[in-house]
Symmetry: C2
Subunit: 183 residues, 2 copies
């Protein structure tokens, strides 16, 4: 049996633009644009990108593919982590270099754990979990001390970047009656 | 780009035995046997099975494929959840019926979140995270209130079943100098 995750062409395209970013804001705006594009393509309202911290290059992009693929683990962050690890050929990005994850929303309990194992050295998110919950998404057991655990392992955390822009996507999704795919 | 997870033949075989279980102990012993077989096949010392709670049938099996596939998310529980969801054709097992996950070790922070989104109604584990940590595996930020959050969502939790048998695999892995694939 093979489990095949066929990355949508529109999503992979974001890693082929050869754009080099000079600021966290620009990287976050790409993650937010992916979230918007994901809604247009019938997916969940979340986007993520992983960049090389040294060069500013985009190494992978993720969108929420839970409903399309019938796989509850396929949150945007997980898709971005899998794509990045396949590209560098390692189960730990930390063994290859310095990478950072930008997510359009605060990662849920599963993604928080996945970020810890991924080997990224920095995680930045935009929309708050409070807003995600308000539109209907459960975020699971995430506590301040959960993020502090990641910090204690050397992962840099930054939140609330371009928050208004990211939360607009969540409200748009709610307006469009997008599927809330909690179990 | 396609991300392909090719389930090992020896692992898939566990779902083809047509064994019907009548007790949690029997289901756990299969998860522990998978963990042992995983070590023999060069994988991480963890195994999982998902069964249909009503019929006692094994619907999926998981082993730790992190190192083989260079994907840090491929813990045994994640592999079992993906296989089960692909088989029933839904991102939520709860939409299909009543399913339960047996894991040879206490799930890590990522898998705890993944269990919440999977739609299983019950989770049972064997080896304690304390022992997993002792042989070198980080488990991430998992707190008593994290599990209580799952309980509050209607998920039944049971721990310590056949613990001695499961922990023997962890010690065996350490003895064999198995890869500790923390980032």
């Amino acid at each position: 049996m093979k489990i095949v995750i066929d990355i949508p062409g529109w999503l992979e395209e974001y890693t082929r633009l050869n754009r080099v970013f000079n600021s966290d804001e620009e990287k976050m705006l790409m993650a937010i644009e992916i979230a918007r594009k994901s809604i247009e393509n019938g997916g969940g309202p979340f986007g993520a990108v992983i960049t090389n911290a040294k060069t500013g290059e985009v190494i992978s992009a993720g969108a929420n593919l839970v409903v399309r693929d019938n796989l509850s683990i396929l949150h945007a962050e997980i898709v971005a982590i899998m794509m990045a690890q396949k590209r560098v050929g390692s189960y730990s990005l930390a063994k290859i270099g310095e990478f950072e994850l930008f997510s359009s929303s605060e990662p849920c309990a599963m993604c928080l754990g996945a970020i810890l194992w991924s080997g990224v050295k920095k995680v930045v998110w935009s929309a708050s979990s409070k807003t995600a919950r308000k539109v209907g998404f459960d975020e699971g057991p995430v506590y301040e001390k959960s993020w502090n655990y990641l910090k204690s392992k050397g992962i840099e955390i930054k939140s609330g970047l371009k928050q208004k822009e990211a939360e607009a996507n969540l409200y748009l999704y709610k307006e469009k009656n997008g599927v809330i795919y909690n179990p």
